[in-house]
């Protein structure tokens, strides 16, 4: 069953890894499959976002517009998620994502996601755990970077 395949894809995403399978099934059922041709844009930097995409097949390139022009920052492949920040909080897209090959995605709408969280608070708790872990990870890296920076400045002086 392809619905089961979608559930597996969702489960492979760390954000959803610990969410109960039956809830993921509902999320998968209420999400839609969306195919992109090579070169078609999934989301555009600076525009408001209302959905995340899980790549089921194919690859996509992530570009960031900088003052010096557009820079490719990553290439995403199977079971990668893109645009999840947009469904968690109201910020504009932070990058432009373009299909590199013919791309097969599962589109998770913001509404579907929030329905899941508000209807089943335990899902929210799981996602909070995952986000807290990410934050912890980021804080640690930031600490390391700060220490390194201080060292560098000290050595300069």
């Amino acid at each position: 069953m392809s619905l089961q395949r979608d559930v597996d894809a969702l489960r492979a995403i760390p954000l959803f890894a610990k969410v109960e399978p039956s809830r993921l099934k509902l999320l998968a059922f209420t999400s839609e499959h969306l195919d992109f041709e090579p070169g078609e844009i999934l989301c555009r930097q600076g525009e408001p976002g209302d959905a995340a995409f899980i790549l089921l097949e194919g690859t996509a390139d992530v570009f960031v517009d900088t003052p010096r022009g557009r820079v490719k920052v990553a290439t995403l492949g199977k079971n990668d998620i893109v645009g999840e920040i947009a469904i968690l909080c109201d910020v504009p897209r932070t990058a432009t994502v373009v299909a590199a090959t013919r791309l097969h995605t599962l589109k998770i709408g913001k509404d579907g996601f929030f329905n899941l969280v508000t209807q089943f608070p335990e899902v929210g708790v799981e996602i909070m755990h995952e986000l807290a872990a990410r934050l912890h990870h980021t804080t640690q890296r930031l600490t390391n970077v700060s220490l390194r920076l201080a060292e560098l400045e000290a050595s300069k002086a």
């Binding site: 839609e32 499959h33 195919d35 999934l42 329905n115 209807q119």
Partner: protein
Amino acid sequence: MEPSIFAFIRKYSWKQQLLILALTFLSFPPLYYSLELPKIIINRALGDPDGPWMLFGYDLERTTYLFGLCGLFLLLVLIGGGLKYVLNVYAGIVAERMLRRLRYQLYEHVLRFPLPHFRKVSQGELVQMINAETEALGGFVGDAFAVPAFQGGTLLTILTFMFMQDPILGVAAIALYPLQIWLIPRLQRQVNELAKRRVRQVRRNAERISETCATIREIHAHGTARYELARFSEQLGAVFWIRFAIYKKKFLIKFLNNFLAQLGPFFFFSIGGWLVIHGDITLGALVAVVGAHKDLSSPWKELLTYYQTLYDVRIKYEQTVAQFAPPGLEPAELLTGEPSREPSFTGTSLRLTGVTLLDDGGEPVLDGVELQLDLPCRVALIGPAGGGREELTLVLAGLLVPDSGRVLIDGLVLHELPEPLLGRKIAYIGSQPALIAGTIEDNLLYGLKQRPRRLVEPTGADRARRARDRHEALASGNSVDPLDADWVDWEAAGVRDPAERLPAMLAALAVARLSDDVYTFGLRGPLPADRPELAGRVLEARRSMRARLAGDERLARLVEPFDPERYNSNATLAENLLFGMPVGNVFDLEHLASHPYVRSILEETDLVDELQRVGYRLAQTMVELFADLPADHEYYRQFSFIAPEDLPEFKAILGKATIERLNRLSAAERDRLLDLPFKLVVARHRLGLIDEALQQRLLEARKRFRARLPAGLLGAVAFFDPDHVNPAASVQENILFGKIAHGQAHAATRVAVLLAEVIDAHGLRDAVIEVGLRTECGIGGARLSLAQRQKLAIAREVLRRPELVLLHEPTLALDAADQPLVRDALLEAFRDRSIVWSLQDQEWASRFERVIVLERGRVVAQGSFAQISGPQLEPVDAPG
């Protein structure tokens, strides 16, 4: 209108009333003799054994005499009843004609109300008055003279009879009449007063209901349903208490009436008994009087009721007439008349002298405006909102009548010119346009329908019907203009032949930038049955659409074409099985399996069990997915195959049997399961329930369904056929001939672009717009967006090309980008004609030859744009 109901009746139906009276009197003799005959039968035929038995001068044998009399009796009863029947029908016709006349007159008065009056009356009240409250008046008209004549005559006859028996008893019989005449109407008046209050209250209810309908969005948006319910409850309560008081009084009257009627026998037995004992009258006479008194009570009651109704109806009529005759009522001849001289709108001038217009509070909105506009002119009216711009355009359009001062066109007073003329020569486009319920085309042509232009000669049975209708309309003083005639003044729209009207309409749509909207409507509209040549072109477009899709792999993914040999994974199972559009409601896509013919096909192809198993699995998934969701969750509506209230039932079915043992379920339960999969779309739902093998079998069923379709059901499906257009499908569906695929990014937009390319390549765009013109606008244009309504109102006036067009902020609802385009197109469309445009945006005024600035109802500046925008002018408020 006539000041009193009797004046109304006399003026319009005195001949008919005379006929009713004549028929009434004609019915007395048969009635009298049908009462007389039984006496003769008893006294002569039965009671007198010796004869002679004379009938009409013939000496008859006794039995023949008896049967002769009986036959005569029957004949009299028949004549009496027949006369009564004719009388009733005729009185009914007279009443209905008068009712029709009254309603027509009231409606005509509504059309003549001065515009500001509509701020004071409520729509609900008008409806109530014209429809419901006139009913009682109409009923009375038939009875107006007949009832007093008939009942009064009967009463007099019986009274005469009683006085013949004994004058004292006669006096006793009517002794209490003066009291009744004095007392009952007084009580009745109180009841009537209450009834009137009830009518007013019911009118308020009507008003409340219509207001609720009008503001339904606000009620939901503000969540004030509870407040509205409380308000309505309070109003219903008011009706209740009034009714309660009415009942108490009404039944008191009834009690008194009955009591007073029963006092009669009291007097007869006491006084009459005393007289009998003293030998002054015979017992027989007393019995006869008592009997007669019984007959007396019925006509007397009728007369009293008549008197009460009369009082009520008189007041009601006067009130209604007063309500429909507000000050400033437009003279009737202006509504439909034609002028003795047509004013010219070019090379003349439009002159305003001391035009003053007061608002409801008596404050001037226009304050002595003096203006001269040399026609043709292009004038911008600017100034702050509420400064009198809108009112001035309305006065110039002849829609508002100034309280003092005059508007002269070519030396004629504008407000004394008949409306049809003004309607042809002058157009007004406001900021809140209203549409009629009808198609877009009906609305476009509405401004051209001042009078019937081309009569349609009726044929055969229609001719007789037309003559009958015309005769009847005349008898009620109604309009006899034939509605089926062509009312459209094509000439004014520059159209020579009504069959060639499309270019003019397209041009009007283009000016208002409405073409794209109507094109979109046209795509969704059904292929018109009356345009067979269109079918071939649509088929060509379908073929080139197919070629384009097939020629490009990327495009091919966007649409899954209908193919009789293939299962369409983007269509529902029901659509795949039917492979056509249902016509009418024989086949319901939602409940296809319940149709006996569909069921028989499923049985023949052995699909019933298989689909029940699919239904079982589907139910399993649904129960699993939705089990924990609250019943009011929107997911049910969006995604579930099972309504929340049915979920427990399916849970029970699943618990009763495993998928291998579905035969444990009852037939009804299995039918429930069978119903489920028909909405499944393979590509969308991804449940893997309809596999290749099942799809092949469904294709078999599809073929069998079509091949075996009984003649009686042939019209119920329009099958998808690659080589024929589908009359039940829309233009878009016919060209696309397939389903837009699920899960392709931007599929809908890309298909729309592709479709437009194909349509343009085949020169079908105008034809699609023509289909779009047949779109129903809904009541008040509710199916159109505000911008579309506004554009339609503009296109309507462009089409009919008036000499002078007045506009008040007509483009505000449009997209910002469209507004200047519509403005320029309008200015171009009315190049040689006159435009007076009330504007919010001062910048726009630069496009006009002359600018007039209105503030506080006065002209404070006028001249060219350069002069006006010079430094001497105070900045104008509220631009933009």
